[in-house]
Symmetry: C2
Subunit: 153 residues, 2 copies
Amino acid sequence: MIEIERKFLVNNNSFLDDFSRSNRIVQGYLSSHPERTVRVRIKGENGYLTIKGKSEGFSRYEWEKEIAIEEAEKLLQLCETGVIDKIRYDVIVGTHIYEVDVFYGENEGLVLAEIELQTEDETFEKPNWLGTEVTEDVKYYNSYLSKHPFKTW
Amino acid sequence: MIEIERKFLVNNNSFLDDFSRSNRIVQGYLSSHPERTVRVRIKGENGYLTIKGKSEGFSRYEWEKEIAIEEAEKLLQLCETGVIDKIRYDVIVGTHIYEVDVFYGENEGLVLAEIELQTEDETFEKPNWLGTEVTEDVKYYNSYLSKHPFKTW
């Protein structure tokens, strides 16, 4: 399906006052090519395999299947070097959910917020902790961060 | 799981006298890297996503899931250039099945036979049409052929 997502920097930690749940995410890439990323993810107790196509504006083709966590662990071992480790906080704001990712390891210091929309022109509430939009900046793709971590910028 | 497979050239077409079934296969690669190939395949009426690790001798880690044919068609559009088109003949020889692939398109003229084994030292019957072994020659990997087709050799 086509996913429509917008991504922002985060100005401060006040989102932590309002999050509804959080999950540890560890993910690696079998392909980090921006036109065909293949991602292996462990989120909490679940495994996922996700394939994404090229971005066009705020939209990107995305295919995802849940897989057994044991299979995800095996596939993570095949991945390119540069595993992403982060905690994702779900924060409900108005009628939307922001997913706020706090990165660790080589990307420590980076915090990003993402919101999924139904249409490209859908409006949404912007909380005070939301910073600059970086949707179209490939530097903030997790696939890019896995190769060029935030600490090396 | 770990797959143990051996691959051979094919000397002549006499395998066609004995095949039990055949399927058209069209496949592309989201990653053609030999340490982490990600293959999208349509075989007959079914779709498959397959991930393979690095070869070690005759063995290679392989993960495969059946997916909807419509999803496979979408994912094929994301693949690297160089789609593989072939007909696979299943040929029973003794207690084993040889999968004989007759290639078309840019790989026309190439015919390869593969046999799956339970152990690395398992013995198996070699029919008269079976040629030179090429198991460890990466040139005959389908992922390599997708980039460097047989007609260009």
